[in-house]
Symmetry: C2
Subunit: 245 residues, 2 copies
């Protein structure tokens, strides 16, 4: 069977990358640029999410994994399908229409949106044929299609999810300090957290394991390093039915 794309269905990937040094939660975006053939006016110049149409033989999950691998080379990342977007008007802005006509895409395309979690440093941006760039979640550039909406909905989902599941460790290096984790939560949630309470809470978790190692090469007191044990977490996990409405 030939590889055949389904012309009206795509996946779009919101790639969240955390930069531990800059304490910045970022989104990976791709340049969208088009000049007119005559006069070389700039017709389209903005950013979009990475995404592509789904192939006939693929599941949605496979399509999203493929798209992400093409851009970053990475697989086995944390991934969540969080919402489908299919409003008739979602690709109807003037620039979107110019783009779609140029690329001969269908103007009624439904997209299934995923988000991925990784460390910003794990992506060799620019090594690929795409012009991809990290943007802090609070400093997004002009975005094409309905991608700003998609990013914001992914972010809302991430904010809720990080409160109840240990997905934050997908955004951190294997070895991290307690303060790294706190900084990350503060970045994601946009709040301040009391350091003493937060430390106590984390250190008491059995799946947060103190290593026999400290930071090196820092010009201050080197901090204790920890790791997260998914194994222990999953073994301990017991569903709780606390009703908090």
């Amino acid at each position: 069977m030939e590889l055949e794309v389904i012309s009206n269905i795509s996946v779009d990937c919101v790639v969240f990358g955390y930069d531990t040094n800059k304490k910045s939660l970022n989104v990976l975006l791709i340049k969208r640029y088009l000049e007119s053939e005559i006069g070389s006016d700039i017709l389209v110049d903005d950013y979009v999410l990475t995404g592509y149409h789904v192939y006939e033989h693929e599941t949605l999950d496979e399509a999203s994994t493929r798209v992400l691998k093409e851009l970053t080379g990475l697989t086995d990342l944390y991934k969540k399908q969080f919402k489908a977007f299919g409003s008739p008007s979602r690709l109807m802005s003037e620039t979107d229409q110019i783009w779609i006509k140029n690329k001969k895409f269908s103007s009624r395309t439904f997209t299934i949106a995923y988000y991925f979690l990784l460390k910003t440093e794990d992506v060799g941006v620019g090594s690929k044929r795409y012009e991809a760039k990290w943007f802090p979640i609070r400093e997004l550039p002009k975005l094409g299609f309905d991608h700003e909406k998609i990013i914001m909905e992914a972010y809302e989902d991430l904010k809720i999810k990080c409160l109840s599941e240990p997905i934050t460790f997908e955004l951190l290096p294997v070895k991290f300090t307690i303060n790294d984790v706190q900084d990350l939560y503060e970045s994601i949630l946009g709040i301040e957290i009391d350091n003493r309470n937060f430390r106590r809470k984390l250190i008491n978790k059995k799946y947060i394991i103190a290593l026999d190692e400290k930071q090196v090469g820092v010009s201050k007191k080197p901090a204790q390093l920890y790791m997260f044990s998914k194994d222990i977490y999953e073994k301990m996990f017991t569903k709780n039915y606390l009703i908090s409405i």
Copy 2:
């Protein structure tokens, strides 16, 4: 513009209905039945979710609302889009293929799944051209397509969601007793809850309002009736950032 359906995209609706008297959480399903033209063998005889293809002019939300209105006559229900399903194998069982060929549907259809919450008693089952029937969530019949999977994923989502948002009141009559609410949580979650603790918890909420009314027509001590005030809930609502991982 003519009404034109998008042949490879549908919405499917998991309709949850709670029966306060029977203390039963139910799912509304539609009979799928087909006999062979010669010999009248039964080719297809099972149940499916209500759903239909999306029209060109519609959003996904509008399509789901339309489908639900056609079946139940109801609008303005609690609704959540919870997942898209698009595996190439999702409609590939033998009976599904017979059905699809008979109905001339596309065998690679993506569906965007929603769930709805309502009171079983609000639906006049049988009043429509569909043969629709309620089934307790733990006693589902043989289901076509991948609809058992869809229902189970909707149910998992509902279980999580009812712990943190007051969506349970969508499943109860306007006036309810505290024990009604407890029974509902026990039905959804499949657990037992301590009555004294549960009562105290609920009665202390400002948005649970004691009415000047008691049950009538019961052959026992009539219980105090309460209502839920969405207004008060929303005014009081403050996002909490409790990290419980």
